[in-house]
Symmetry: C2
Subunit: 399 residues, 2 copies
Amino acid sequence: MEILTENQAILAKGYQSTGVWCGIKRAKKDLALFFSEQSASVAGVFTTNAVKGAPVLVCQEHLAYGCGRAIVINSGNANTCTGPQGLADSRRMAQLAAEALGVCTQEVFPVSTGVIGVPLPMDKIARGISAAVDSLAAGQLGDAAEAILTTDLRPKVISVGFGPDKRYTLTGIAKGSGMIHPNMATMLAFLLTDAPIGSAPLQSLLKEVTDETFNMISVDGDTSTNDTVLAFANGAAGGEPILLDSEVYAQLRAAFLAACTYLAKEIARDGEGASKLITIEVRGARNRQEARLAARSISRSNLVKTAIYGADANWGRVLCAVGYSGIDLELEKVKMSIGGLEVFAGGVPLPFDETCAREVLSQAEVTITVDLGVGSAGATAYTCDFTEDYVKINASYRS
Amino acid sequence: MEILTENQAILAKGYQSTGVWCGIKRAKKDLALFFSEQSASVAGVFTTNAVKGAPVLVCQEHLAYGCGRAIVINSGNANTCTGPQGLADSRRMAQLAAEALGVCTQEVFPVSTGVIGVPLPMDKIARGISAAVDSLAAGQLGDAAEAILTTDLRPKVISVGFGPDKRYTLTGIAKGSGMIHPNMATMLAFLLTDAPIGSAPLQSLLKEVTDETFNMISVDGDTSTNDTVLAFANGAAGGEPILLDSEVYAQLRAAFLAACTYLAKEIARDGEGASKLITIEVRGARNRQEARLAARSISRSNLVKTAIYGADANWGRVLCAVGYSGIDLELEKVKMSIGGLEVFAGGVPLPFDETCAREVLSQAEVTITVDLGVGSAGATAYTCDFTEDYVKINASYRS
């Protein structure tokens, strides 16, 4: 695999992308467009929140058609809790892009992120879409990556070359959990590949990989109303259709896993107020489900996140989070290390050098490893530390 | 009912209490003793965390014995993750108190709260127990309430007079979710009544009331390894044994509900770094289970807690928390008010006066009401707002 990130990342064959400013945000780019020159297989994974944004509902409708040509995204307004008008607006957003691009409305996927409860300013959206379509040919991947951000600090882009002679490319673009008033973290990710694969295998692949990556990150435990992951495969790089369980399928899956893992970690690292990326590795579990429960429980604990912020090797808080995760625990078999230091085994804490611990925990990346000692299954979760800035950002009155 | 709190609260008949300093804490009282002059029916509810402190395990053993004479509590050390020695120490703690009081070891309930992973200093505990027994006669309820605190700011005490001519008294003492390194919130509550009731009905009553009160508070979503609620009923006020479903039983239950609701709210109000008590009322649910899920989900949301800290009537974050609570939601039927202001109905936000909202949300107590509009069941949860101080306190390096 050939992995390129940030400015080095390239766009897969047969795609165009751009990002423009249409006036929803004060000054920053706020409308992005991804266009596939030929019809692509499409797959999607969406929020499990019972409150779903209008664009999520429209994407789910369009997904039923099974092929895609474009994704149009606006930031600054989530078009959520906007009633029937909101649904009409999201459909209109897809239709406007479809007309300008000369494709069917059902082949266009509308995505919105930002403030909720405020009607989408359709005049601005319309202007933005025509400007985006006009600039497509000259559009840069970086412009699109920038235009989907809310309060994220950095664009998140990766490309992965894979397959025989690296003939295929997978491009991944994401926005993270910057919270924008009055809404909560919204995660968006778009995965565009020029490999040839049908919508059905692409959907099962995307679901699997999402469960191992995006579904394993937690910034504050809240699940947004607009979370959306979309994948396109347009086959522009040629070759035989990739079949499940073929060797190329395995390479494609590895490419998706690499791209989504990178983007998931970047999202956690860029969590609001975050100063550290925390990786939680759970091993020795009876099964994957218990490993996931334990890892996610640790990743959601405010007490663990504040301890790591304080560079405190606080094994007690980690153990407590495992304890209430709902798994069946055999305390004497649990082994734990924080930042590589062994801190707990045999049911009791191990002596460790506090100064050394403080040093290790002051790094920008900290890994907590918990071996449950009762099996061979494992899972990894990602989160960020918890700082005063998180509170400051989220307590600041809407204005 | 006659309700007295703080210094006015009185101790039920036939009980003695005291609090002393035995040297686990630097200067503050750290060992409390409650003694019943006659054998009492006993009931207990304990943490659901898979990691349980040694004293919890010993209390559960002694509970099987069915009657109690004393509760001995130390603060400053939780005797958790201390291996087989920890179990022996908790048993020894009960035995020492039993010998000094002339009762059976199984009639004494040992309780510990504080730092975990550190062996209990048994010499200090032993000295403290004999000092406590010596001071019992002259002991004050306030001393006991003070001695069980960790980082709580205020003692939490209430007494409720109930029954015919208020002949019966229920005394409730609790400690809240002050976190003490390296441990997490530990909640302790002791309910002592002079009413005559058997252990079986007392246990079912305690379980019911705990579910409606202590199990509905959340400071940071973490569940401690040592949470303990113990109830004694010694019948010292005389009268016929109180039978389930009798009128006096209803009065006893009402007294327990009043006492535990008060203590639960005081615990939430006194959460670390908290500046406001937040009450979450969910109504119109299909059933009590869904009402509880929704109320608890809101009470655990960092985003809701930071918004209230910022005096922000952030209906979006509340709605989001209901959305991922796992209940089946009909958005158009949801009605929400924050601090008495109607903010959401019919699937869309309602216009409200931001200045007025800011005023209401700047009070020391804020109520969020969510009517799900699909039934008649309800539930109430309590939490506190989320401030920079919470992060400061919990990120501070152990020292």
